[in-house]
């Protein structure tokens, strides 16, 4: 488990990018945090590490699932940006078939993972608003060694 601090959108984006470099096709990131915590900002960073232009990634609250084409080691992979904000939670999320977007060759990032109830295995990121105002970003499923070792991944 890692605990990081971010003082700005820019820093949150950087953390996302760094996290993205540790991900491989098939990985899913579950994002937790209140409205305005910076979840979509973090997704922009993760997407960037797969060569997806920041501009292309906007809020996915409306369409629930936004599909982008990412690049991993010169290969095209699907990148799914999922936002469960509009959903009631519990069965709703599974009823829309989100398991279709998890695993395989795809990298998926799920905002409002709270709505899934118990999330399956994967990387969990919780963004908390702390006085400053700043953000405390807690990443579970990635160990400190990997985080610090920038040579690993891409």
């Amino acid at each position: 488990m890692l605990t990081l601090k971010s003082a700005s959108e820019k820093e949150t984006k950087k953390i996302g990018e760094r996290l993205g470099r540790l991900l491989r096709p098939g990985d899913t990131v579950y994002l937790y945090g209140d409205l305005g915590a910076g979840k979509t900002v973090l997704v922009k960073g993760i997407a960037k590490s797969f060569g997806i232009p920041e501009k292309e990634v906007a809020s996915a609250s409306f369409t629930i699932v936004a599909e982008h084409e990412g690049t991993y080691r010169d290969k095209k992979i699907p990148f799914f940006h999922i936002d469960l904000y509009r959903l009631e939670g519990g069965r709703d999320a599974w009823e829309i078939g989100i398991e279709e977007y998890i695993g395989g060759h795809a990298v998926s990032v799920i905002e409002w993972a709270e709505k899934l109830g118990e999330a399956p295995d994967g990387i969990r990121v919780n963004i908390e608003v702390v006085p400053g105002p700043a953000r405390e970003i807690i990443i579970e499923g990635v160990n400190e060694k990997d985080w610090d070792n920038r040579k690993r991944g891409r």
């Binding site: 409205l35 305005g36 809020s59 609250s61 599909e67 709703d92 829309i96």
Partner: protein, 343 residues
């Protein structure tokens, strides 16, 4: 000229199931005349209201139930065989919802041999002003709704240039999310609009994201400011807290200032003095007032469709389809819906 006008009258059935309304419309077009013969809509408002937003699975199920009756209502005494073409919205939108309309349109096309036309939802909104007006090209179009906030330059039918779009939340989404934070319920637009009329738009200086010289939009920071503001409010005595009216009015002013300023700057930069504002948020009363004042100041023509054509409707899909029809741009039965579909 990108297309040639056909002299013979054309009858087009439009279908839109991109979000939470099942809609079908019949459009008669005869040279330059456009006649909305019918525009049937089955709203799912009551179904989604209790969830504070649209639940995709419920939406698709309801579309399946309503697509037949809505299309039948739109057709009236006309038969599918009378149609010149079927124009269907293929995206962007909720994938499960879009699929219902697309599959239905394909089925009619397959069984009757009537040509099928694919329309982008945004093109529908962009051209919705033509259902009641005849704006000349070129014009600037601001499409602003729950799912979109985009600026386009339209040089002719089918000739659109995207100038800017939201980098995060759509304007309508900012309304919905703020309304939820304020405990106002869903949908947020009309509720905030009504409350704002009683409030002071200058009470709280919420930020305006102009993003330098860019024509892109960002409403996520505004949402965050509202969150922060409400958090601070909790730490002060109730008697000195801001009223909901003032919060609503100040929030709304921040959204509208940005929308109007960007539209104005676009007109200045392109030298085009014709503006179309479309999409669900275009029926917001404060936005209309602000845009009207700005248009007068800029000596520009302003076109805002009436509310029934601002919100999702199939008449605009049929109209956009007509121009693909004239160009001979038809879709095959392998047509598919797309949740993400830039214009």
């Amino acid at each position: 000229m990108a297309y040639s006008r056909t002299p013979e009258p054309v009858l087009i059935l439009g279908i839109d199931t991109s979000c939470d309304d099942t809609s079908a419309a019949l459009l008669g077009l005869d040279g330059g005349r456009t006649d909305v013969i019918s525009s049937a809509i089955s709203s799912q408002f009551e179904i989604h209201k209790k969830y504070g937003g649209i639940v995709p699975e419920l939406a698709s199920r309801r579309h399946i139930e309503m697509i037949w009756p809505v299309v039948e209502e739109a057709l009236g005494d006309k038969k599918p065989e009378d149609l010149s073409a079927i124009s269907v919205c293929i995206g962007p939108g909720l994938i499960g919802s879009l699929l219902v309309g697309v599959s239905f349109a394909k089925a009619i096309s397959y069984s009757t041999g009537i040509p099928l036309i694919a329309v982008n939802h945004l093109e529908g909104h962009l051209l919705s002003a033509f259902l009641e007006h005849t704006p000349e090209f070129p014009f600037i179009a601001l499409v602003v709704s729950g799912g979109h906030t985009s600026l386009f330059k339209a040089d002719g039918f089918g000739r659109y240039t995207g100038l800017g779009r939201t980098r995060d939340d759509a304007a309508g989404e900012a309304y919905d999310k703020t309304a939820k934070l304020l405990g106002l319920g869903y949908p947020g637009g009309p509720k905030i609009d009504a409350l704002a009329r009683e409030g002071n738009p200058k009470a709280i200086p919420f930020p305006r994201a102009y993003l330098g010289g860019s024509f892109d939009f960002s409403f996520s920071g505004l949402k965050t400011s509202v969150v922060n503001f409400l958090r601070e409010q909790e730490t002060i005595p109730e008697s000195s807290r801001a009223g909901l009216n003032d919060i609503a009015a100040s929030f709304q002013a921040a959204v509208i200032d940005v929308l109007a300023r960007k539209a104005e700057r676009t007109m200045i930069k392109t030298g085009i003095r014709r503006l179309v504002v479309a999409g669900g948020v275009a029926s917001n009363s404060a936005l209309k007032e602000k845009m009207s004042r700005m248009a007068v100041k800029r000596d520009a023509e302003l076109f805002i469709p009436s509310p029934k054509y601002c919100t999702d409707n199939a008449a605009m899909i049929a109209f956009a389809g007509y121009h693909h029809y004239l160009n001979g741009e038809f879709a095959g039965l392998d047509l598919n819906a797309k949740a993400y579909l830039p214009l």
